[in-house]
């Protein structure tokens, strides 16, 4: 009997690796359905046959928790990520540490700042929070270019459409056409967290719990780190 | 089977207000372009729905607006040869032909496929598509298609207009056989007076959507004022005769009419068969003395009963030849110089006779 994991699309590379390893170790077949966290959450609400849900942000996990669709006890903050400012690889933009004194408006010139949608896409929400925290939101709000996912925002930068973009560290690391010009300080935005939880099922499946535990283990952690995520304290313990 | 039509139908600015009855046989709808012939045919076929009226075929009511009866086209079993052939472009000629047989319950076909194909000369076209046919070929296939559906009534809208004389001459006898032997009533739209005269049992004359004259063909045709203008030359009388004998040496047959004996090209029918003739006014010459030494040997004695309108060069003269009414077309000059008067005995020299059945226009003696 196979397990079905609903996971945010950005986790695909690392999670696929972990699934292969878990399959080899336990003999349990796991399939992953990758999509936007919002879609996955609503599908679970509609009775999707998911055993485990890994969201790209907290609100959608909360959404299911409020509706009593996950096992509260199983919920963990599995992964974290960094938020970085990127520029095209050939850009001569230089920033020495992002802080309240960073003049985004000047850096952008008449260009735009590529971000995920600040209302809906997690990376966009973090970016907005960070920019507000740094007090530059009013200056850049009109210069945003919001995309429906963080990869699209990254593409705008790597294609040179936008001189700067705010994306996850995990995305920026792998794209040779962009360079990271700065990392947002940890305190500038809510912690970037990928929570995971077992979906309520009757009867509960022990393999699902086993897999969730495996994801918190060292082998999985290595895979997540290779993909640029930070493995949170709750894991590997 | 009788056909009874009494309808009013509005179509754009055109109003069809037609009433006629036919007791079977072949009813010709005759009238100028735009007079409403096709519209009337469509009403009979059920392709338009007159606002008001009754159409009855035998004892089937096809339409009765007062009682709210409207039999849909597909249940009328009326074969329709359209003015434009309307072949099914996606079907081969063969399938066009047999299309109607797919839907007729009873298997007593009016004509079998081989017969129709042979008659219409379309054997070599069977596997073609309509788009690869000539105009006349298309029309022939359309005739075959209507026949193959074993209709109870056949509507033919100028079916022969695009055919050559030879082909017409082959098809006309077949239509006559349908009318006489199979007994299918036929409604036939035509401009050609020759066809009308030859085929018609009943003639319905339409002018601007109204029936101005209808009735027995011989009555309508013999009326002096029916044909106006150029059509007058085609006017003529119908004679019912009986086959009296043959002269095989000259390939002639002898017909006996009340008016007298007439020689016509050999008819391959038994002695005693009734034969209907049409004698066109323009083919009758009058002589005031018994003629002699003429190649024309059909000469009927008679007496002038009426002389038509006398303006213009040509005048219609009606003769009574022992009860048969003939019409002769002569010049006004001849009336004055011979002279011709009502009551005067004359000889009608008949140059050409058309058969109202049998092969076409035979020139006789």
């Amino acid at each position: 009997e196979r397990l079905t994991v609903f996971a945010a699309a950005s986790l695909k590379n690392a999670l696929d690796e972990a699934i292969t390893a878990f399959g080899a170790a336990s003999g349990t077949e796991v399939v992953a359905s990758y999509a936007a966290s919002s879609a996955l959450a609503k599908q679970i609400e509609a009775g999707a046959p998911a055993d485990l849900f890994i969201s790209a942000d907290i609100p959608w996990m909360d959404y299911l928790a409020e509706r009593d669709l996950i096992e509260p006890a199983s919920r963990v903050d599995l992964l974290g990520n960094t938020l970085v400012l990127v520029a095209p690889a050939d850009s001569d933009v230089a920033v020495t540490g992002i802080g309240a004194d960073t003049d985004f408006a000047a850096l952008l010139g008449d260009g735009r700042l590529a971000v995920g949608q600040v209302d809906s896409v997690p990376a966009g929400k973090y970016a907005k929070a960070a920019l507000e925290k740094l007090g530059v939101w009013p200056a850049v709000e009109a210069k945003l270019a919001q995309s429906d996912n963080v990869r699209a925002a990254l593409a705008l930068v790597s294609q040179g459409e936008a001189p700067l973009g705010i994306v996850y560290g995990s995305d920026a690391a792998s794209d040779p056409k962009v360079k990271v010009v700065g990392t947002f300080p940890k305190g500038s935005h809510p912690p970037i967290i990928y929570p995971a939880a077992l979906v309520k099922a009757d009867p509960a499946r022990s393999e699902a719990a086993a897999f969730l535990a495996f994801l918190q283990g060292d082998e999985a952690a290595a895979a997540f780190r290779r993909a640029g995520f930070t493995v949170l304290d709750g894991a590997a313990s | 089977m009788s056909l009874e039509v009494r309808i009013r139908h509005r179509q754009g600015r055109f109003l069809l207000d037609a009433e006629f009855a036919s007791t079977g046989g072949l009813t010709v709808l005759f009238g100028r372009s735009g007079s409403g012939k096709t519209t009337l045919a469509n009403a009979i076929a059920g392709l338009n729905r007159p606002g008001e009226g009754v159409i009855r075929l035998g004892d089937t009511v096809l339409l009765d607006t007062a009682r709210g009866v409207f039999l849909p086209a597909h249940r009328r079993r009326i074969g329709y040869v359209f003015q434009d052939a309307r072949l099914f472009p996606h079907l081969s000629v063969r399938h066009n032909l047999v299309y109607g047989t797919w839907f007729t319950r009873q298997r007593q076909a009016v004509a079998d496929l081989d017969q129709v194909i042979g008659l219409l000369g379309i054997g070599h076209l069977l596997d073609r598509r309509p788009s690869g046919l000539s105009g006349g070929e298309r029309q022939r296939v359309a005739i075959g298609r209507a026949l193959m559906a074993s209709p109870r009534l056949l509507l033919m809208d100028e079916p022969l207009a695009s055919l050559d004389e030879a082909r017409k001459a082959e098809i006309l006898p077949f239509i006559e056989r349908l009318r006489d032997e199979v007994g299918i009533p036929i409604v036939y739209v035509s401009h050609a007076v020759a066809e009308v005269a030859r085929l018609a049992t009943t003639v319905v004359v339409l002018v601007d959507g109204r029936v101005v004259r209808s009735g027995q063909a011989r009555q309508v045709m013999a009326s002096l004022d029916m044909f106006q203008g150029q059509e007058r030359a085609e006017a003529g009388a119908l004679l019912d005769t009986r086959l009296a004998g043959h002269e095989p040496a000259y390939a002639l047959s002898v017909l006996q009419a009340p008016a007298g004996r007439l020689l016509v090209p050999l008819l391959d029918r038994p002695v005693g068969t009734p034969v209907r003739l049409r004698i066109r006014a323009r083919d009758v010459t009058l002589a005031v003395r018994q003629p002699d030494g003429l190649s024309a040997q059909n000469i009927l004695p008679g007496r002038i009963t009426a002389i038509g309108r006398t303006d213009g060069p040509v005048v219609d003269v009606q003769l009574d030849c022992a009860g048969d009414l003939l019409i002769a077309q002569v010049t006004r000059r001849a009336i004055a110089t011979l002279p011709l008067e009502v009551g005067r005995p004359v000889f009608a020299i008949v140059k050409s006779i058309s058969f109202a059945d049998g092969s076409d226009m035979g020139s006789s003696a």
Partner: protein, 231 residues
């Protein structure tokens, strides 16, 4: 191609072909019916039906997907009814992908067929009627063959659309490999991860190849039909 694609991708390709084919075939009779109604019918609610048919085009696919989820989901009234009464389950099955694709492609199919119906020379149908053919037979033997070009066009549009649809599909039935992960879902997933471009491009080429084959096939078919109709 086998070596060129991972087994999972290979599965997605086959599933996509199956989904697109089944969606196209299943929606055909409904598409015909609705096209016929819209082309010929005069009834109240015609404008409403027309709008309804076009909605999947006008709405973001995600919205259509949600609406499907709300209607045909496991816990939704219609979905529940179908499951209980007929054992038909769409939710998170490949059949759901079929439904989503069929609905997304429906306006395209209906339009193409409808356009052909409106171009039919009704006098040919009348002629068939005078030959004794009941309207149903007229439809089968005259109308249907004459609108075949439109049907083929509708099917190819529908097939292509079904092959490319993922917004409604992924929202309605998720992205479960082997069950609901179609080719475009797979492509989409690859676009969402670092280093996914190469893989995405590979799959894009597969999609292009399939659609090219389908188009060439449909052209040949159309040419034969055209030849048969003799136009």
């Amino acid at each position: 191609m086998g070596a060129w694609l991972t087994p999972e991708e290979w599965t997605a390709v086959l599933l996509s072909l199956r989904v697109a084919t089944v969606a196209t075939l299943w929606s055909l009779p409904f598409g015909l019916l609705v096209a016929m109604l819209l082309a010929r019918g005069r009834f109240p609610g015609r404008a409403f039906l027309d709008t309804l048919v076009h909605l999947p085009l006008v709405l973001p696919p995600v919205v259509t997907g949600y609406l499907l989820l709300l209607t045909f989901g496991r816990r939704a009234p219609v979905g529940n009814f179908l499951a209980e009464q007929f054992g038909i389950v769409f939710a998170f099955r490949w059949t759901g992908a079929v439904l989503a694709c069929a609905i997304m492609a429906f306006p395209l199919m209906v339009r193409a067929i409808r356009l052909s119906i409106e171009a039919v020379d009704r006098r040919l149908e009348q002629a068939a009627g005078t030959l004794g053919a009941h309207p149903a037979w007229v439809f089968l033997t005259v109308t249907l063959p004459l609108i075949l070009p439109g049907i083929v066009a509708g099917m190819i549009l529908s097939f292509a659309k079904a092959l490319g649809e993922f917004g409604a599909t992924i929202t309605f039935v998720s992205n479960i490999p082997g069950e609901t992960q179609t080719l475009p879902s797979a492509i989409y997933t690859l676009t969402q991860i670092p280093d996914g471009e190469a893989g995405a491009m590979r799959l894009v080429l597969v999609a292009v190849a399939i659609s090219m084959a389908a188009l060439i096939g449909s052209e040949l078919l159309a040419r034969r039909i055209h030849h048969r109709i003799g136009a």
